[in-house]
Structure formats: C-alpha cells, structure tokens
Amino acid sequence: MSRRLLIVEDDTDTREFLAKGFTEEGFTVETAPDGREGLYHATDGGFDAIVLDRMLPGLDGLALIKSIRAAGLKTPVLMLTAMSAVDERVKGLRAGADDYLVKPFSFQELHARIEALLRRPQDTEESALLTCRDLEMDLLKRRVTRAGRELTLTPREFQILEFFLRRKNRVISRTMLLEGVWEYHFDPNTNIVDVHISKLRRAVDEGADAPLIETVRGAGYMMSDG
C-alpha cells in the first residue's frame, strides 16, 4: 500500500522538489502552499506523515501544528525550519512536532527522517532483546553478543548500537545520531561521528565475516537485516 504524505511549503521550488523526490520514493504526495490549505488537507485525514514549513503565509507552521494536534490528529509531523537556533527547534517540538530539520537539508536526510517517523509505532513495542542478524542485545542484562561471542562495549558504544538496532533497515544520518545519542544540536567541524562509528564497528565486527553497519554515501549509516 502506498504511503500518503502531505507537504505544506510556501516556496514553490522546494515544494515541487520534495513532491518529486517523495513520489520517486513511492509515496503518494499531496501539497499545500500555505497554512490554511495545509490545515484543510491535514484535517481531511488519511496521511501517514506531514512535512511542514515553519514559516508559512496565512497560518504559521507552529499555529498549524497546534491546530492539527488540537483536532486530535496524531499524524507524525516533521517541521522544516530555516532557523538553526536551538530554541526554534525546541519551540517546534513543544508545539507538537515529532521531528524537525533545519533548512537547507539534503533530501536523503529528510527521507531518512520521514521513514523513521513512519516506523515509529513499531519501536514502541518494548522488547528486552534486540537483534540484527547474528548480533543480540539484551537490554536487561546490558549484554551484547555477536555469533554467540560476548562483546565488550563502553556505555556510549552500547547506546549507539541500541540506537541503530531500534532503527534497523533505515538510514541514520549523522545529525540524527548527534541528537539522538548525545543530544547535541550543533554540527561539529570534525568527522567525530564517523570516528565514533568506526570505533563501534571495530568492537562489533571484530572477527565477524560481514560488517554490520554500512555507510550510506551522502546520507549516513544503516544497519540492515539483509
């Protein structure tokens, strides 16, 4: 079944670029150029996710999201914001957005985040055991084994690995890692995230035949079952 996405964005170029991109990714896309029309479509229902610009003519993004939530809709919303300042993001999340992305962004990042939002409900099934191929993570005993052999991980490595395991088969961007694992909202100049990942890889892949964490060029990383 095709997934339905609503894009509310006043800039025509961006709107069409996003619509085209998501259509190619197999989404059924509806667009709205302003907040009023966006609210009309959103409350009409039937969308799996909404991409929403923070700055909109007519009805501003924050107001729109509040109206959507007030209408009782739980559709996941990703907010696009031109302002990179932290408090702007916080405002968006407080208003009821599920995620946000700072403009300018890469389409891959946005796609990865939308996929993550769509999969979110499955994440809520709390399981004490997370697995991927021959890797097993026991959250209660804080133990990780690869092909039956126990791995020694630092608490941070454990946390990163858990982050990946909970988002299996999905692209994880560096920014998502920074925010999700370290709760940092800035963009380090160095390739620090890559260093952390390669450290984790060394610990996880040591002695194994296939690497568990793949690099997705231009987008980030992915841990897949396949």
């Binding site: 302002m83 990179s84 300042a85 932290v86 408090d87 916080v90 700072v102 300018p104 941070r156 370290w182 940092y184 909202h185 800035f186 963009d187 380090p188 100049n189 160095t190 620090i192 260093v195 952390h196 450290k199 231009g218």
Partner: protein, 454 residues
C-alpha cells in the same frame, strides 16, 4: 554642511531675542512700579498739604468770619512762600472775594473732591494746570485751594524719561549678555556639529575637542567621544568581518564553480564527474556551515536564547563533551584530562556544549601527537572558568587578541574544515553568559579560557 549652522544661528537669534524680551519686560515692570509709586507719593503729599490748608482756612473762617478768611487768603497769596499755591474765595454767586485765581472754574461744584483744572492765574495771567479741592462754607461762600501741577508734571516727565533710558540700557545689556552667553554655548555646540559633520563625511576618527575646563560641556564631549570610540571599534570589526566573509567565501565559491564547470563537461569520465559532484557537495556543505555559524554568532551576540537559560551542571557537561571527543583524541594519540571542578551555574546548555566542543576541536587541531590536553575547571570570584590547555605551538603574541575575531586562523592555506568562526562563536557565547573569552600563550601551548557569570 553650512545648513545646520544657519539653523543653529537661527536658534541662537531666537534665544537672544527671548532672553532680551524677558529681561526687558522684567525691567519695565520694576521701573513701572517705581514710577507709579513715586507719582502716587508726590500726589498724596500734595493732597495732604492742600487738605491741611483747607482745614486751616476753615478754622480761620470760623474764628474770624468771611472778612478774616479773606485777609488770611490775601496774606497767604502775598507771602507766596509757595508760588505754586493757589487760592480762591467767592461768595454764593461766584463773585471773587479773595485769592489769586481770576474766577471760579466752571462746572466745579464745591465739595466734589479732587479735580485737575487748567486755569488762568490772576497775578500773571498765565495758564496753569492745577490740582485742587474745594469746600462750601456755611454762608454758601466757596473756597478752593490748589497746587500748580506743572512742577509735578515736570517731575513726572523727568521720571518717565529716566525710566525709558533705564529700559533702553536694560535692553542693550540683555542683548549683550544674551549674545555672550549663547556664544559660549553655541561655540561648543558648533564644535560638536562640526565634528559630527566631519564624521558624516567619512572621517570616523574625528573627536569633539575637550577644552580641559571639566565643565558640563567637557563632560558631554567626553561621553560623546567615548561613544564615538565604541562605534568606530564596532564599525571596524564589522568592516573586517565583512571583508573577511567576502574574502573567505570567494575561494570555496570559485572551487565550487570549477567543480560544477567540469560536471557540465561532456568529455569528462563518469568517475571524475562523481568525484567532482562529491567535492561540490562538500564545498556547499562548508559554505552552509559558515553561514549557520555566522547566524549562531549574531544570535548569541544579540543575547537571543537567554530565556532558555537553566541551571547547568558544568562539570557533567564538560565530562560529556570531553568523552565525545576522546576517540578523536585517541586517534591523534592525544590524552584529554579534566582538572578541578566548576560546579553549577545558569547557562544555555546546548550553546555551552557547543562552546566547549569548539574549544576542544581547536585545541585538537594543534595538539601534537603524544601530548596531553587539559580541561581545567575552576570556581573563582569572577565566576565559573573553563579553560582548555594544549601543548601545541601556541599563537604569535600579536595574534592573541584577534583570535576570537571571525575568520582569523593561523593557517593561511586553510586546508582543513575549519570555518574560522569557532572561537568567534565561543567568545559570543561567553559574552552572552555575562563572561568573556581569553587566550594566553603558555609556552608551550595555548590556553583558551571562558569565564561565565554566576
């Protein structure tokens, strides 16, 4: 340029005129009062003399009858000690019985109070102005006693002339003082206007002359000069930043242009194109990072986000960020140690984490392999201090002060990913927290420290 001066001169004219009108009006009021009072005193004097004389003559009449009164009047006219004294006694029909006036003035009813009259003197035939009072005696004779008013009128004229002269003098004097006073004020004002004009025409280094008298004008000039110093400094910084931005963005943009150009070249190999596209993307990412950092800096400078301040456990924050950089440090064979504690303080947690991250990245860029990087925390009178000490080459002393200015990097080639804005953002974040950024050479190494107000 002359326009404001003319306006000011107009203001000066208005001021001088206003002061003149005011002081002249005051003088006129005072002199007018003096004049009126003097006049009234003289008139009262005359009236009391005349009243006394009327009473005396009436006594004479009561004692010696009409004949006696006539004799008394004749005697008084003859004595003429007071040449201005005028007397007239007539019978009930108005025939003159005695006195030095030719006839009873027309229309004057005896006992009707004070009158001013123009009459003819009997002795000399000259016309006189008199002030007089009259009574009717018991046998209906009429008695009039007066005083020649011309002497008084002359005094009046003299008095009036003096008052006029005094007024003129006051006018001249107020003009002079007004002119002098406003010259004092307006010469200082025109100093300021001249300086402002020069600054407007582009000479930012001009300052208002201070005359050394320490008066209010000097104080104001000093305050304005301090303000001008600050403005000049800020404009200088801004100009440098703008120049640096223009300069700094030119190289990545021209590199980007080359990449895109070779992308459009149909002759180039697919693998080359792929590499070019990746590099172009990297250049764009670099530019975007520069812009977002510039935004962060100006937001921090403007103090935006102060409402997001919370009680921050600085020690825990430092442990977290340091741990985050440990793998990079380990790759470089650099050890990071934390010394001391700073405790808790109000702050913007994400921005503080970013500031420390920038400090660490900067230090790691210059830390040699095998060295130790120290993060020193302290809680002193000034506030919480957080310094990062590396054992790298340090910074040339003359560059220390400019370290936190945008786009100042030590390596002109700038081959790494540094935007040249990291420390500028650190300084802006420190200022936002009521503190400051400082860099010191420790020989060897550099100490980069921020202080946060408690």
């Amino acid at each position: 340029m002359a326009k404001p001066l003319i306006l000011w001169r107009n203001a000066r004219t208005r001021l001088v005129l206003a002061s003149m009108v005011l002081s002249t009006a005051l003088t006129a009021l005072v002199l007018g009062l003096v004049y009126v009072t003097a006049n009234r005193t003289i008139e009262n004097e005359t009236r009391s003399v005349v009243t006394a004389e009327l009473a005396g003559l009436r006594d004479e009449y009561e004692r010696l009858g009409t004949i006696g009164l006539m004799a008394a009047i004749d005697r008084r006219v003859k004595d003429a000690a007071d040449r201005d004294a005028l007397y007239l006694l007539t019978d009930a029909q108005g025939n003159v019985l005695a006195g030095n006036l030719a006839r009873w003035p027309e229309g004057i009813e005896p006992g009707s109070g004070w009158v001013d009259l123009d009459l003819t003197k009997m002795s000399s035939g000259e016309d006189v102005s008199i002030s007089a009072a009259s009574i009717r005696l018991p046998l209906y004779e009429r008695l009039l006693v007066g005083r020649d008013a011309s002497a008084r009128q002359q005094l009046d004229r003299v008095l009036l002339r003096s008052v006029g002269l005094a007024l003129l003098a006051a006018l001249a004097l107020s003009l002079l003082t007004g002119w002098l006073l406003t010259r004092l004020v307006f010469s200082r004002l025109s100093d300021i206007a001249q300086t402002a004009d020069d600054i407007v025409s582009g000479d930012l280094s001009r300052r208002i002359p201070v005359r050394g008298s320490g008066d209010e004008f000097d104080q104001m000039a000093q305050t304005l000069n301090d303000m001008l110093d600050k403005i000049e400094e800020l404009i200088g910084n801004l100009r440098m930043t703008t120049n640096s931005i223009a300069h700094d963005l030119r190289s990545p943009l021209s590199r980007l242009r080359q990449r895109v150009e070779s992308l459009t070249d149909p002759a180039s190999a697919a693998s080359d194109r792929e590499a070019d596209a990746a590099r172009a993307l990297a250049e764009v990412d670099h530019l975007l990072r520069v812009f977002s950092q510039l935004t962060e800096i100006s937001r921090a400078e403007a103090g935006l986000g102060r409402d997001e301040f919370e009680d921050v456990d600085v020690d825990a924050l430092v442990r977290d960020v340091t741990e985050f950089y440990e793998p990079v440090a380990a790759d470089q064979d650099v050890q990071i140690v934390i010394e001391g504690t700073a405790g808790r303080g109000p702050g913007h947690k994400p921005l503080l984490a970013q500031a420390l991250s920038n400090l660490l990245e900067n230090a790691l860029r210059y830390a040699p392999a095998g060295s130790t990087l120290t993060v020193a925390l302290a809680n002193v009178d000034e506030g919480l201090t957080l310094s990062v000490l590396d054992q790298g080459p340090g910074v040339p002393d003359e560059k220390l002060d400019r370290l936190a200015q945008p786009f100042v990097t030590l390596d002109p080639a700038r081959t790494d990913q540094s935007s040249g804005l990291g420390l500028a953002l650190v300084a802006a974040i420190a200022r936002m927290h009521g503190g400051r950024f400082e860099a010191r050479n420790r020989k060897p190494g550099l100490e980069a420290a921020i202080t946060l107000a408690r």
